[in-house]
Symmetry: C2
Amino acid sequence: MKLSRYKHDSDVSYALGATLVYELLKTHPELIRRVFLRKGTKPGDDLTTLLENLKARHIEIIETSKAFNVLDAKDSCLLIAEFQKPTEQLSISPDAPHLVLVNPSDAGNLGTIMRSAAAFGFQNIAIVTPAVDYLNPKTIRASMGAVFHLNIQEFASFDAYYISQPTRTLYAFMLDETAVKLPDLHPTGQNFALIFGNEASGLPKSLVAIAQPVFIPQSSNVDSLNLSVATSIALYQFRQK
Amino acid sequence: MKLSRYKHDSDVSYALGATLVYELLKTHPELIRRVFLRKGTKPGDDLTTLLENLKARHIEIIETSKAFNVLDAKDSCLLIAEFQKPTEQLSISPDAPHLVLVNPSDAGNLGTIMRSAAAFGFQNIAIVTPAVDYLNPKTIRASMGAVFHLNIQEFASFDAYYISQPTRTLYAFMLDETAVKLPDLHPTGQNFALIFGNEASGLPKSLVAIAQPVFIPQSSNVDSLNLSVATSIALYQFRQK
């Protein structure tokens, strides 16, 4: 059994734990290559059902300790699915709003943002690299499986995203009190993109040439909101409009 | 120099890094007992100003390596303030809204929530124990210093909080699609409390006897939102109303 630690340039990744394997099976069964079951596991009812569903799809189940030693540093899960990384393209439909994350650097933040995006119906996410790897098993776990419900495409620069979306209205979230306040924004239609910058450096000021700057009203007692919080508030607020 | 690792029952805690020391000095200078400066540090302009402000308040500055070995596992900061833990009481003013966190268990989440509470003007937070320690240096760091702008009181049970606030309107955030939806809530005045449960177990159903259940509309594609995200969305939304 050939198996090595996850790497960014690998063509497979791993869903750790029964909950993530279940989400993956529900959304992308065709991507699953094989599933590892921790040696000596006595499956309960839920796990038995899941294993039967995997078998019904002719997915190989391998009882082993090795995969867990290699892949599961926390030594806590019973099931791991190895899956082919998808290659996805953003929907260019004007009915599909976009979320654009420029250089997100924290796996926990990105996982939490994907969870909020799935919760508020933003299926399409553009990630401008360099960025944390959204298919790293840690990020997948932080997303609680939400990543499998989304359509995510990486772009090598913001310009590469921009030229692919010439007619989309862009909203750039910035710490600029002179910008339009989020509650006062009244977008029409869904042909827009919400753009957020890196945790530490935010977005470049130059973006205002092509995007409407937006500010989430907040006290001067704090430097800023956490990135996943700011993004989730915007996703929530746009979903209400 | 007597110094040991932080413990929950210690009467002092630590602000790690110049930014947190600055926030502490700005908000609670009387609590600072002494400040440690990493041995061999060549202070830049900002750090020099901060050190002068500390000296002007007759706060002892000790150049040392030991405190950093004991307290700063990441080995990255230049300044640490040791401070007396405050004993705070919630404001009972009807003009001061409350946030009530029942058994929060994750230091990162609690830090992020404190940051959002300071950002959206919720100065008063009740924490029902058992809970993660809001004065642990890790939680303080996750709050980016927001903890120093807040008024936080621990309660041994939800009932202990409840009997202290007999006239307050209570909103209990639950994963219950039959509850009132957050955007449809129209509170009057500020004499209310927003209540959130533990990351894994949420709030007990029995709370509906005394609290208005509230639901943040979300897709069934996710089990729930991250706790710090759900709390921050509610704080934001109530601040707009």
